[in-house]
Symmetry: C2
Subunit: 296 residues, 2 copies
Amino acid sequence: MSAVDVPSGRPATRATPAPGDPVLARLSLNQKTTPSWDVPGLVEGAVRAGLDWVGLWREPAQEYGVERTAKLVADAGLRVSTLCRGGFLTAADAEGRRRALEDNRRAIDEAAALGTPYLVMVVGGLPSGDRDLVGARERVASAITELVDHAAGSGVQLSLEPMHPIYCADRGVISTLGQALDLAERFTPDQVGVTVDTFHVWWDPDVEAQIARAGQRISSFQVCDWITPLPADALLARGVMGDGHIDFRSLLRAVTAAGYTGPIEVEIFHADVWAADPDEVVATMARRYVEHVLGE
Amino acid sequence: MSAVDVPSGRPATRATPAPGDPVLARLSLNQKTTPSWDVPGLVEGAVRAGLDWVGLWREPAQEYGVERTAKLVADAGLRVSTLCRGGFLTAADAEGRRRALEDNRRAIDEAAALGTPYLVMVVGGLPSGDRDLVGARERVASAITELVDHAAGSGVQLSLEPMHPIYCADRGVISTLGQALDLAERFTPDQVGVTVDTFHVWWDPDVEAQIARAGQRISSFQVCDWITPLPADALLARGVMGDGHIDFRSLLRAVTAAGYTGPIEVEIFHADVWAADPDEVVATMARRYVEHVLGE
């Protein structure tokens, strides 16, 4: 086993788990971790690494064809943990709102077609020039209310993803797990759940209590690290597990105690990771997952 | 009135308030907004602009001499709203902790000497390589307990500043106003209060309720804006009021309703602001303060 040079050059401290190793049973490769792969590349790469799960994004699935993607993934024996992403529901004008709802209905249909019951919702930031954060949050709640019937009718749960407050202005006005649950609890767990992404929630002094409160509403547990200094592009600031400050084991214990037994998805946005050989990225991801998330 | 080119080039929408204009009565110039000025420069600049208040930092005050700074400021008829900053209390080793406590006792003495009752506390991030966030937060609480007697004996309140979660790992493990109050409420309001800085708290869905809860514990209200895209250096990411996404008026209404009538301090860390002519920065600050904070 040689050390790989992604992303920090830390020497490997353990062997990469072999394909078929049961330690990998819950590991899901989110498509954005290896964005240089198209859908066939992703499927082949996941199979080569012995993974059972992938997390998909709408754009590459659309590009390859949603039905074709669904067939390719299923034929390879892979399951789809989540589809990213619906949301962007904060438009203040009627036309923007209409288009957002229409697009989210399409996203729901795509999730159903791809065989995942979970559509991850990144709810959107403040419209340009708008400083009314309370109003934006109210529009999100109202839009979710409009979408739940279509979603439930398609067997898809809307999974609200609280975003780190660094993204409150421009990406997601749901900033804490508690706030996501305040909204989710207006609906049944079949209709609306939550995505717990360590990057977004790790800092929250209330995170363990809110994970316990979430219980069966947790539809996805996603992992990547908070690294410092923060990379210059805040949208590409997510590190590989072990390169940063997050105590993954305690968060995994918390979601496990809350009853979550589903896939653990690795979603990393980082320029160095994206520039590296994707097979190497997957190998590093698997090793770091075992070491830092499972703690085995 | 010509527009100034800091920091966004937005045209001036109103005249800069003249020195002596009562609209400026509460405006306090934090020393870090015009860091190219030494203490005499700051005092002269604040007087030229007709301000009554300045917020000081320890390092430049030490450099000029704490007693000398106190005399110069008082002789100019200025008052000191806060001293920045105590804190950095998360060291896990005995020697690091001892040094931090000693340094904070000096900071308390300096606040007393400079004539401000408020020492702003930036409590510190995770020690290098340490992922135990709960433990770091407990050490902060324990250190505050050790410092309150010395502070109260000097007539100085320790003012806990919750930091935006972007700084949780490396600067301040107190991430919300609610969390700051959970700690502050172990002590009397004379001993421990809170600093409400719009940049740090604006995103918090619970911020208005927590400001109401804070009541008389609010010892400082500080303003600067959250701008996007976030500048590459996260420590220099603070914008001039009006350049970003924060609704200052609603936050001022909230602290006013909570009973706060003290100075409103402007503390801006931004490379372009720091590079500009400090008199122009102060003029822009005053204009933007009236327009975006007071809303007059």
